[in-house]
Symmetry: C2
Subunit: 324 residues, 2 copies
Amino acid sequence: MYNHTELKDLVEKAITNLSYNTEAEKLIEPVKYILSIGGKRLRPVLTLMACNLFNDKIDDAIMPAAGIEVFHNFTLVHDDIMDQAPVRRSFPTVHYKWNVNQAVLSGDVMAFIANECFLQTPPRCLLNVFRVFNKAAMEVCVGQQLDMDFEKASIITEKEYLRMIELKTSVLLAASVKIGAIIGGAKDKDSDLLYEFGRNLGLAFQIQDDLLDIYGDAKVFGKIPGGDIISNKKTFLLVKAFELATGEQLKMLQEQFSEMEFDPEVKVKKVVDLYDHLDIRKATENLANDFIKTSFDLLDKIDVDRERKNELESVVSSLIGRDK
Amino acid sequence: MYNHTELKDLVEKAITNLSYNTEAEKLIEPVKYILSIGGKRLRPVLTLMACNLFNDKIDDAIMPAAGIEVFHNFTLVHDDIMDQAPVRRSFPTVHYKWNVNQAVLSGDVMAFIANECFLQTPPRCLLNVFRVFNKAAMEVCVGQQLDMDFEKASIITEKEYLRMIELKTSVLLAASVKIGAIIGGAKDKDSDLLYEFGRNLGLAFQIQDDLLDIYGDAKVFGKIPGGDIISNKKTFLLVKAFELATGEQLKMLQEQFSEMEFDPEVKVKKVVDLYDHLDIRKATENLANDFIKTSFDLLDKIDVDRERKNELESVVSSLIGRDK
């Protein structure tokens, strides 16, 4: 079986070797740029790991895995336009480095480069794999829409929030592992279990990400602490605080998130004090842990030898900050 | 065999019956809007006609045909953002009616709705059809990039211009008929001939479209005469004029297309006067006619009974303003 480092190398190599129509260089420059500034390559690595759970041969999964990464980066390029974000992974975003038109068009071509990768799936499972990918791709768009809608909504429920992050983040993770499983020759039951594993894991990751905005190490995560609070971003912490706050607390929250002019430090302090008072951190950690537990339970049920699951468990454990 | 009206009805029905993930209504509203404000449905109708050339049964081609139309409208939504166009087919453009973010995202989901349509291609030719579509989709992006690049270039050659419109316009028409042919069971030689037929036809259409900006009937085409001149758009006429103009003529052209402030009527008159002097209209018509002749010659070579080609010839003839 392959270890994490070997799989990441395979992914990097596949991405570096992608072939492009270079007739209009300006179209492809931003594509190469966004794909070169890294990230963990989590999704394609998980695709290969899922394939490797069921099969010692993983070559057939490499191009679809690259396709998932290209698609993921396509969504980042377009999301950054919509969010007017200047920075991604400590580098200027595409629309900021070039311009919005370039980011729209270079993003667009990435969607078809992703298709091109998926068209290299072995014919025996092409339709099945492409369907799983494309369903997730459409759902990611729905998730981004809900995220934009929620920005304008004053209050959203926990359920609405979870559904949004499920669509925006989890379904692609779920599809990544399911696609690997299908290509590896898993039984339907096992590829479905892996989908649910990925879905729960994605929810846990996103909720942990919300926590990191306030309780993370700024140097490690490269973000200003409380950035989500300053930008009025709906996070699980905020949704939970709105659910639990009463009377004066609720009034304060509503004020903080409706005022157009404010001192960022004061705003972050007031909101974090309330989070502390309402024990929001604990509630959030508990929920993330529930999703993590569910995902590990699902992995347990998959019908392959115990030791084949070690590498996947170890990678997931390190990502969620747990030593195995 | 089916006639044009029957095929257009089949296309309209397929588009009306497309199923969507409606969990985020705002995402799909612009999709339904752009698909409902019509257009000639030229590409999907040509797909069905090409299929019908080789096969009396065309059901298998209907969803891929719809996919081509959805893809085409996706490009319109995003192109209109890039061109800052307020009007499309006499209706407000998506980014103008909603906003740029909505047009980016609703456009994006259309790319995956198009995929969904193509995934309904019969398995016997899914890979072949999807490859033809996806190659064209990537080329359309390259064409749009060249178009944007050319806006900033002072002079482009006839060859560069023709390659740009080939990519931006013709390859999708070419793919539309090739896909129909493949699904209809055509031999490779015939589906390749149809591709070339569509490519030449697309070039002729675009060149005729350039002519219509000045010599068309404003009421029929819903555009201000000379709009392309006012907006400094590179058209075949302008490229040809730059090629043929000398001395004072060339100086005048350069001035007209570099001045930031001008009287639109004066600019259009000066440029059109030069076009007339240089016989640009005739040169342009001649080139369009060459492409039309080539496309009909290619159609002749296709190995099906003469009378099966009648409907396709008749539709093409009416589109190029020729009575058959």
